[in-house]
């Protein structure tokens, strides 16, 4: 089936089979590999994207469900001119170890700060609870979120 998506402000079309995930379409059909494919069970958050402004796991959404809707992926956060403030903060604090979870954390953090510019530590924990870092680099990730919230 043909799916039409608005991805990072741009109209895109792709052919997908009915059971194909949004994550697969983004990575393999639209050339946007920033969203990572890890657990494929919705447990790790590495594939987090915004669907109509709501944070979702792209591995659990079928492309067909996103047909006609708006998406923001990690590729859509920064600009040619420079990184998104959340990306700056992750780089500045060294909140990256192997880096595989980072795009998901960056998207989830950008979503949190857009809704709540000054989150408490508990609010950060809640907002990022669907994102796992298997290197367990959470202390630096917290530093990055606090830094981005202050910038």
């Amino acid at each position: 089936m043909r799916v039409e998506l608005t991805v990072n402000g741009e109209r895109r079309e792709a052919d997908a089979w009915a059971g194909e995930s949004l994550l697969y379409v983004l990575r393999e059909r639209l050339g946007l590999p920033g969203s990572k494919n890890a657990c494929e069970q919705g447990e790790c958050g590495s594939c987090s994207v915004l669907l109509d402004g709501r944070l979702v796991c792209a591995c659990l959404v079928l492309a067909a469900q996103a047909d006609g809707h708006e998406l923001v992926t990690v590729e859509g956060l920064g600009e040619e001119a420079g990184l998104h403030p959340v990306q700056e903060a992750f780089a500045e604090t060294g909140a990256v170890q192997c880096g595989f979870c980072t795009p998901g954390f960056v998207v989830a953090t950008a979503d949190l700060l857009a809704r709540n510019p000054r989150p408490s530590d508990d609010e950060i924990r809640e907002a990022l609870s669907g994102n796992l870092c298997r290197c367990t680099g959470y202390a630096k990730i917290f530093d990055a979120v606090r830094l981005a919230a202050g910038s």
């Binding site: 919705g42 796991c57 609870s129």
Partner: protein, 283 residues
């Protein structure tokens, strides 16, 4: 596989069965399809045909957990059950109707063992690993029902409106039997459309987990106080959401060796939940 987008709930109902499976938020169905636990020739997308949103005590079954967890109109027990379920990413997509119908997390079932629930002769969990499993109703199958909102809605006395009938939530669920391994009483093609959720005087949902976020309930306890008394219901303790007639009814539990600890957790959470909702005003 083919995707159908029916224009009415009746058309969706008619399209189901014979290899056609209903798709709502997808957070449960997509991994089950991927793992081959559910097989489908056609997916029937419900987004445009199942009501979403709420009005007074009426809640559309297509409402997401994320929408329910933040609205002050929604009774506290249901709000708390939604906010303690899954992760923010999953709650964005998962619908209340789909949540009520989700399958057990039993890993024997999820790994497609030929277990009782899959139509086999034995419950592998009973002789094997069953720390997350049942303390009630485990005669045939020791799985634990994972829905937090179901326990809250059971305590609140919710009623369901389906494409075929109206029924109390308690009648949605059934323990699997030799001639029928389903844990719900929905007929083929029957869809949950809306719920009536009475407003209690007070309600609460408490949940014990392995970790404090994004974990299924070891034990969840919902309590709702109405003029005629306090109603209790539990998640994670039986193959179906489990109503308790009184706090003392917990002592009728029949845990497995590996789940006896859940009785102690349930006892403590029930005491706290009953204290939290207080005594009925008329008492």
């Amino acid at each position: 596989m083919e995707l159908l987008r029916p224009e009415s709930a009746e058309a969706a109902s008619a399209a189901l069965g014979n290899g056609s499976v209903a798709l709502a938020g997808g957070t449960e169905l997509v991994p089950l399809l991927r793992d081959g636990i559910v097989r489908a020739e056609k997916l029937v997308e419900l987004r445009d045909v199942v009501p979403r949103g709420f009005d007074g005590t009426r809640i559309g079954a297509g409402t997401t957990l994320a929408e329910l967890e933040v609205d002050p109109q929604i009774p506290q027990a249901l709000r708390e059950a939604c906010s303690l379920a899954a992760s923010p990413q999953l709650r964005s997509m998962s619908t209340l109707g789909g949540n009520l119908l989700q399958a057990t997390r039993c890993w024997y079932w999820r790994l497609n063992f030929p277990c009782y629930l899959h139509g086999g002769d034995v419950c592998h969990a009973k002789a094997g690993q069953h720390r997350e499993h049942a303390i009630f109703g485990s005669d045939r199958c020791a799985s634990a029902h994972p829905s937090d909102p179901a326990a809250a809605l059971l305590a609140l006395g919710a009623r369901l409106h389906t494409t075929a009938r109206e029924l109390p939530l308690s009648e949605l669920y059934r323990l699997p039997t030799d001639d029928n391994r389903d844990v719900t009483a929905l007929e083929p093609g029957e869809l949950i459309l809306e719920l009536d959720v009475p407003q209690p005087e007070a309600s609460v949902y408490l949940k014990a987990m392995e970790r404090r976020k994004w974990s299924f309930a070891l034990v969840g306890v919902a309590a709702a106080r109405f003029a005629d008394g306090v109603r209790l219901a539990l998640a994670g303790v039986a193959p179906v959401p489990w109503a308790l007639s009184s706090p003392d009814a917990l002592e009728q539990a029949t845990p497995l060796p590996g789940t006896a600890y859940k009785v102690d957790i349930a006892r403590a959470l029930i005491r706290r939940a009953v204290e939290a909702v207080g005594a009925p005003r008329s008492a």
